[in-house]
Subunit: 119 residues, 2 copies
């Protein structure tokens, strides 16, 4: 049991769209990711997903609207809701979701990560 | 589904040791709390608990050590581990824990909250 410093963890990687696990509790993962560019449309069949913006500004496109999240803002996306994150400039995000949540749901894409490194 | 601004949520209350629910997902609560002074010793029998420091510096006393958490740092306290938070000056904290986690475990104290307001 030790303090987890978010900025120190972000200094350990530079890849985009490759979430890293920084903690686990109650069957849930706490992940960090750096995002840049457009991700792909996907949903998670059984998992709600939380995005919390640490740095930058993230747009999330839904079928019926766009939501912009700025630093210090979070959004909970319910299961089954299709979404597409878009980061015009680099965004640092904290994710909270169940362990084993698939990166891009049932969609397979070159951006899809099958495993998440623990840092 | 809408953006949740953390600082705006913190502006809605001033009580200490009275967590407010700002979101729920996958059977878990996202809570905010303002802390000042010494809390009481307690543990949670079945729930791990995450503290993430938004503002200030929090000491958490354990039976065998003290951990200090500064802004931007988090700590995951495993179930059954007794802890006592101490905030010399006011601290703003974000908590992740299962819905229905009891505030002070099986301990009853005048500081114990039975219900958590949603804001």
């Amino acid at each position: 049991m030790q303090a987890i410093n978010i900025n120190q963890k972000f200094s350990l990687f530079n890849e985009h769209w490759s979430p890293k696990i920084i903690g686990q509790l109650n069957g849930q993962d706490v992940k960090l990711a750096k995002l840049k560019g457009e991700f792909i449309w996907h949903d998670h069949k059984n998992e709600d997903e939380l995005f919390y913006i640490i740095k930058g500004s993230l747009q999330i496109e839904f079928r019926d609207k766009m939501i912009t999240l700025n630093e210090g803002e979070m959004l909970i996306i319910p299961k089954k809701v299709a979404h597409k994150p878009i980061a015009k400039d680099e965004v640092w995000v904290l994710l909270f979701e169940p362990t084993n949540t698939k990166h891009t749901g049932d969609v397979k894409h070159e951006l899809t990560k099958e495993n998440f490194e623990k840092i």
